[in-house]
Symmetry: C2
Subunit: 274 residues, 2 copies
């Protein structure tokens, strides 16, 4: 399609409302290929491990330094295997072989395989949150922010081809702890970001009706994810492939549909020009 | 909410493009409570059974009358059990006990449990198609048709609380036969219905950009289904219940968002007044 992609955004975390869950480490780990670097942001296991705000002189309640490195290798290996298989099943033994780790380390670092998967999911959804938090701070019109955000949501499903399946599995299992973790990681903050943009749109006079930000969250995320969820219908119903070209067209479509609904479309201004 | 629901629409099928798959039966079976009466429309098992257009004097290739009745009882029992359990697992033995049928009849009528589930899915998605085919024929403005259609899509997920889960299972399994059956049953016809409405909108001058009907299909169905798929986020993220009130507000929200995007909103005219 020749359109430029947004560059990956990796930014320092902000404590703010989540301060009690962020445990500052002495030095950020270098980012490993592919997996988003949100080492400054808590993950599920961090949350379980860090019962209180860190007091630097004390060692962490669990997980000495070698376990931290193994933990990261296990996440990276799971990320690689799921990417290679487009979200298909991977076993704990495959993950441990790839990570060069003992299977007992999965239990030690994450409790079990579900805990490992939840840590990977929130690592990625934390990076989604970091992305729109950064966008929120830019000196841009609400239209431009919303257009860039919607494109980013669509592209993120392509960038992490297994994330939709993991999220769907978790929704299906309806596990309270896991769904609360994901809600805290990006669902509620994203609806808050939408609320801010919708308020700006209302105040600018672009939209003459009140749009509920929670309903808006579900409708726009549903738009963005469904072409990935329903890929077999795309294949067998329409004979189309979910390739980069279609994903870019879909990102444009979603962005234009929503922007045209909320305010006067701003033409080329809708398109990211980073 | 006090808003009137659309009455259930049960209309005679039209042969048209699907003529080769529709087998006219001498007399329609009476509708059983809850399960949509689309006895005039082929189901998956009919499709397998009817290799050629029916020649009335010949008995069906498989399934004499008693088997037809058992087949219907098995579908009805599955429908009831899934409704009672909100889409949770039901076993073949539970289905057969409820249907007062021998377990061997599942194999005889549907091949296996997957075949039974596919027959139930397409029974319901055929009724969705019948609904929007009927709407397409009404003497109504494209805006009114689209508004009613979007509300109906949202409400249908509530009316058949297990259908989304069955469709998601099928998408996840990515089985070609099943996904082709569902695509034929409602995916491709619905995108064609959207194409007709979008063409009317473009010709009326209400919309000044071309909207791809296939991308539109995925985006609007995604909007409609996601609040059902992501119900745990609604519960644990926002503390809200997916009750009739929220579903009606969501149906309004989706309808208004899409209608405002495509053309000038027609105010109260958006609301179904049937």
């Amino acid at each position: 399609m020749g359109r430029r992609r947004d560059p990956p955004r990796r930014h320092a975390g902000r404590a703010r409302a989540r301060a009690q869950r962020v445990r500052q480490r002495p030095a950020a780990r270098p980012a490993q290929a592919g997996l988003p670097d949100v080492s400054h942001v808590s993950t599920a296991a961090d949350h379980d491990r860090a019962a209180a705000p860190a007091a630097p002189p004390l060692p962490p309640p669990r997980g000495p330094a070698p376990a931290e490195a193994t933990r990261e290798r296990l996440l990276q290996a799971t990320h690689e295997l799921l990417t290679e298989r487009g979200g298909g099943n991977v076993s704990v033994s495959e993950i441990c072989e790839r990570a060069n780790a003992n299977v007992a380390m999965v239990k030690y670092c994450f409790g079990n395989k579900d805990g490992l998967m939840l840590a990977l999911i929130t690592r990625i959804t934390d990076s989604f949150r970091t992305e729109f938090e950064h966008l929120a701070e830019q000196k841009l019109d609400w239209r431009e922010k919303l257009a860039r955000h919607l494109r980013a949501v669509v592209r993120n499903y392509m960038r992490y081809p297994y994330i939709n399946r993991l999220l769907m599995d978790q929704l299906r299992q309806a596990d309270e702890h896991a769904n609360r973790m994901v809600s805290d990681s990006f669902v509620v903050p994203m609806a808050e970001f939408h609320r801010t943009l919708l308020t700006e749109a209302e105040q600018s006079g672009a939209v003459h009706r009140h749009i509920d930000p929670v309903l808006f969250f579900f409708s726009v995320v549903g738009m963005c994810e469904f072409v990935f969820t329903a890929q077999p219908w795309l294949t067998y119903g329409f004979g189309a492939a979910l390739d980069d070209d279609l994903v870019e067209r879909y990102a444009d479509h979603v962005s234009e549909l929503v922007l045209a609904s909320i305010g006067t479309p701003s033409g080329d201004g809708n398109r990211s020009t980073e």
